[in-house]
């Protein structure tokens, strides 16, 4: 048994190497090809040779997959024009080669603001391409475990996917904490209260709310296992499904809209000891959700 290897601490390239079967990764548009951002140099900002995203193909437990990994250290994983085009190209390729899944290690603050409209368009193009892949019955799996979380347009993209896998440390949301605080005030959301931020946007809350399908420990082999279990597991993309999801969201707002803290939400959900949730292991959370409150609680 190997010692856990923190998914959060790995670079995008390392994540790809550790998630796939050893030695099977073939990169598309690798750094030596220098398909770089046309915008950053104009602004006097250094670009990255891969524009902050690694894409390619490989196998996971012997099954062919396409994979993308965003590098959170470069521009906060921001989606620029080239970055987005690489994601779109990978998703379109899935329609041709029909992999067992498209895996996306999402770590991004959303649109790369330096590239403004080009980044916004890129995000919408990624969504459209992702939905085409889903419509073709190929599952798209989001793996979220980086320190930067998955926010803005990338949060929207993540929730378009068939499955979302998160670690406890991971965060996913639309507007980030600082954005909410600056637009609605510190009383609404104190972005410096790390515990509050993680309770509200973190993997555990997302899991309890049903926005994240699988909660895993911050261990790359746990992510690998979760991804392997989801190969070939596509979810039907139908109008009825979408309408049902709207109903769920409306009910969520009605039921929890007045809660000031995620802990209030958990309490109202029937979690016996909401104050203990933040200290629970990922495996215990599964029990909590299926209503089998553990005796140790």
């Amino acid at each position: 048994m190997n010692a856990p290897l923190s998914f959060a601490e790995l670079s995008a390239r390392q994540r790809v190497q550790h998630l796939l079967d050893a030695g099977t990764f073939t990169e598309i548009l690798g750094p030596a090809q220098r398909v770089v951002s046309p915008h950053l140099a104009l602004l006097g900002v250094p670009y990255a040779f891969d524009d902050g995203v690694v894409i390619g193909s490989g196998t996971l437990q012997g099954q062919s997959v396409l994979i993308a990994a965003q590098e959170g250290e470069f521009m906060g994983g921001g989606v620029g024009e080239v970055h987005g085009a690489k994601l779109v190209g990978l998703l379109r390729r899935a329609l041709q080669v029909r992999p067992a899944a498209v895996l996306v290690c999402a770590e991004s603050g959303g649109v790369r603001l330096h590239e403004a409209n080009a980044g916004l368009i890129a995000v919408s193009e990624v969504m459209r391409a992702l939905l085409d892949v889903r419509a073709a019955g190929i599952p798209v799996v989001m793996l979220i475990g980086g320190a930067n979380g998955c926010f803005g347009g990338m949060g929207l993209i993540a929730r378009c996917a068939d499955h979302v896998v998160m670690s406890d440390q991971a965060r996913m949301s639309m507007s980030g904490p600082e954005v909410i605080e600056s637009s609605h005030g510190v009383e609404e959301f104190d972005s410096r209260d790390r515990a509050l931020v993680w309770r509200t946007t973190g993997g555990k809350h997302r899991f309890l709310m049903g926005d994240c399908d699988r909660l895993v420990e911050d261990d790359v082999s746990a992510f690998r296992q979760a991804a392997a279990a989801l190969l070939g597991q596509s979810r039907a993309l139908t109008l009825q499904g979408l309408l049902a999801e709207h109903v769920v969201l409306t009910e969520r707002l009605a039921r929890f809209g007045d809660c000031g803290d995620a802990m209030d939400v958990w309490h109202r959900m029937g979690v016996a000891h909401p104050e203990q949730v933040t200290d629970m292991e990922a495996a215990q959370m599964q029990g909590l959700l299926s209503g089998v409150a553990l005796e140790s609680l």
Binding site: S11, A12, R13, G30, P31, A32, A41, G44, V45, P46, Y47, A48, F49, D50, G52, E71, E73, F74
Partner: protein, 105 residues
């Protein structure tokens, strides 16, 4: 942003190798791409850095690297987001260690 280039002689020829990339263009960090160069007698450096005015320090760092490694026929490309000279040296060494024959000093 500032663009700097250096061309330093070296005598250690390497067998054919695929491009090597280490590091990330993050705050205080850099990426180093080592590829086969077109000039068999030199190691070339092409640097994009966010910090202007540090040419002499970059020159000292790449000269120090080349004095230790003596690479020939290698093209080094760097995208830098304000890494300190020590970090640059470590990244260069890390990339060199990934080259065939180890690139050891």
């Amino acid at each position: 942003m500032e663009h700097l280039t250096y061309q330093l002689t070296g005598h250690k020829a390497l067998p054919a190798f695929g491009a090597v990339l280490v590091g990330v263009v993050g705050s205080g960090n850099l990426e180093v791409l080592m590829e086969q160069g077109t000039d068999p007698a030199h190691c070339t450096f092409s640097i994009n850095t966010s910090a202007r005015g540090f040419g002499p320090i970059w020159e000292a760092v790449v000269q120090n690297f080349q004095a230790r490694h003596q690479l020939a026929g290698v093209a080094v490309s760097i995208n830098d987001m304000g890494a300190t000279p020590a970090v640059v040296s470590l990244r260069l060494d890390q990339a060199a260690a990934s080259l065939p024959s180890g690139g050891a000093a």
